[in-house]
Amino acid sequence: MSQTLGRVLSLVGIAFLAHSAFSTYERKLSPTMVATSQYAANIQSTDLSYLNAVDKVESGLPIEITAECLMAVAVALVGIVLCSGDLKNILMENEMTKQTIDKLDTAPSFITFNHRGRRAVSAHTLLQRRSHGS
């Protein structure tokens, strides 16, 4: 149950992360940013992608994109914590309480082959044969 929820949450988080990546990629420089930028004169004359590559454009992300990105990270991390499997208790004493004495203290020398089981089985088959016969 919580694993499915975790998977859904992490998928949603990754989808929102991808959306924020796409909107960061697609965003255009707003006119006010260009006008107030100290490289305003360059921007008209030079290619925008070149300016981006040499970091001459102030890349102020809108608060919406930043918030979306951070929320997406938080949601995805919660989802991953939920969908990764349960931890197991490593203490030996805890493990020992689940075992039975037959499982733990078994040895070949305790096995008995010469017991009443054989007679019981033969008596049982005898009775069965008799009841079928009559």
């Binding site: 924020s20 925008l48 890349s59 990270v73 991390l77 914590v81 197991k88 203490l91 493990e95």
Partner: protein
């Protein structure tokens, strides 16, 4: 008995269940690998640089470790890890940082550089 020449190695065999230790380590490794990928991508998208990026890694690491501590171990880490809280907060910190830088570089290049 394991061939480790460590003094505490033979005691651990009787004190802890070794397959479960491995299982827990694998679970934590999965969670941390995902953390590195996701927070690295986010840092790349946000365009963090220099110490901002490391600070973001530290913040997300602490957030994730706290989540693991709260959700996975119900604040009883000594039941699941030999080192207790220290194991949750410090194990795999550097390895995660390398994956984080890898994803940061990838997403930063994809989103900010090549337009």
């Amino acid at each position: 008995m394991s061939a480790d020449a460590q003094g505490s190695g033979s005691e651990d065999v009787h004190k802890y269940v070794l397959p479960y230790i491995m299982h827990n380590a694998k679970t934590m490794q999965f969670a941390r690998a995902c953390l590195a990928a996701i927070s690295g991508s986010a840092a790349g998208i946000l365009g963090l640089k220099n110490f901002q990026g490391f600070a973001f890694y530290a913040v997300s690491w602490i957030f994730m470790s706290f989540l693991l501590l709260a959700v996975k171990t119900q604040f009883k880490p000594h039941l699941f890890f030999k080192g207790g809280v220290k194991d949750i907060f410090t194990e795999g910190l550097i390895g995660g940082l390398l994956s984080y830088i890898l994803f940061h570089t990838f997403l930063y290049g994809l989103v900010h550089l090549y337009q």
